[in-house]
């Protein structure tokens, strides 16, 4: 079986932010900040570079375009491939957490 490759943190949070609904750039930034409880603050350049890569890998797709006050706004959604990738990453993280928790439980108590 091929070894599961760890997902980069911004990628993980961007995919997670798109699980419930399609979102545009600023919507993703806000959702990532909320879901990560402020731990991850995406820069716009980083976000769109990740979206381009995820789009090329088939994990996200363009949902629809809007024009707001004359400005271009594009909404992105998760593809089936994106859902599968996020599930695989979640399972990998769960396994890691389980293993670490088991190890910590066996640690002798210190005085």
């Amino acid at each position: 079986m091929a070894k599961a490759k760890a997902m980069r943190e911004p990628t993980f949070w961007i995919l997670t932010a798109l699980v419930k609904q399609a979102r545009h750039g600023y919507g993703i930034i806000q959702e990532v900040a909320a879901l990560s409880e402020g731990q991850v603050e995406l820069q716009a350049g980083t976000l769109y570079a990740a979206l381009d890569r995820l789009h090329a890998e088939g994990l996200v797709a363009v949902d629809h375009d809007e024009k707001v006050d004359g400005r271009d706004r594009r909404y992105y959604c998760l593809t089936e491939g994106g859902v599968a990738a996020l599930q695989a990453e979640t399972a990998r993280l769960e396994r890691n957490v389980r293993t670490a928790s088991t190890q910590l439980a066996t640690r002798p108590a210190t005085a």
């Binding site: 545009h24 820069q43 716009a44 350049g45 769109y48 381009d52 890998e57 363009v62 400005r71 271009d72």
Partner: protein, 347 residues
Amino acid sequence: MSRGYRLLVRAYPPGRRRGELLDTFAEAGRVRPTAREAVNLLRHGLRARLGRPASRGVVVLATLIALVTGFVGAAVAARIAWEFAPAYPSGARLEAIKESVFPGLRPVSERNGDGLFFDVGERSYGEVFLYGHDEDFAFSTVWIGPDGNFIKGDYPAWTAAAQQRLVAEGWQVSDAEVTGATWIATGEIDDSGRAFTATRGGLSLSVQTETDVVDTPAGSFYASAELNRLTPGWITAAGVLGLLVFALLGWLITGWASRRTQDARGTVRSLTREPAVLALVLLFPQALLGLIGMVREPLAGGPPIAPFWSLSLTYGFGCGFLGFLLFAVSLITAAVAGRPARVEVSA
């Protein structure tokens, strides 16, 4: 929306991504870009220029091409800047230098090239374009020597006196080094001469005395001096500027070719990529050596013997010529057979 953001999003290729970014900043209520935002936008914008967002290979290729084009830009800019460098002294100024080194010895001088450079083949611009320069290609120098080439007397004493004369004339003079053949058994130098360097007003004067020159009369020594020009700081600065501008151009042109061919069929992609990779095999080593030479030149301190791009116009000329032809094949393929990057439309 501030002009700062509008300028920064131009790092991205033309397209709706610029509008999306401006929308994101407008919605976030951002007015002026921070330094962190500026760096982030420049970094990712230049990456976006390359297209193929999932590929790391294109970044490596663009970086190597940018180094090659940067080297070309540095060489072109420095070459042009050298045209404005102060000329070698002539007339009374040259006579004064000659008399300072060889007083009362009716010194003579000879310049080994009319222009900036010395090429034993004396090739025209057309010949240089076709064949490059001869292997001895270097900056031209002015040779100075006493009439008859030999001076009677003791060379260490004469060297010390010459140093004192030049110091008195305002030259910065180095210590004299012992020169001569090296004994293989002991590694010691067989003291048969002295050499020192003096600098003043952008000029470097290398003075040498020798006793082991053929036909040196008994009780005499051979003496000569060579006048070179030091590289002015503004020529180095012009080279750095040329490097940055041409490196950016190389990156942008690579991005243009990459985006035009990213959705093309395999043959077109191969005809763009493979000649470019082969061109890099031919060009990158000499570009790297040239750039190392460019960095070392101001650090070494002395006058440059040959320009930092000399390898590319002598031994590396054939490889370079073929390399740029291969780059041309890549670009022509991208221009003729490529198409502008596909614009994603919403479902």
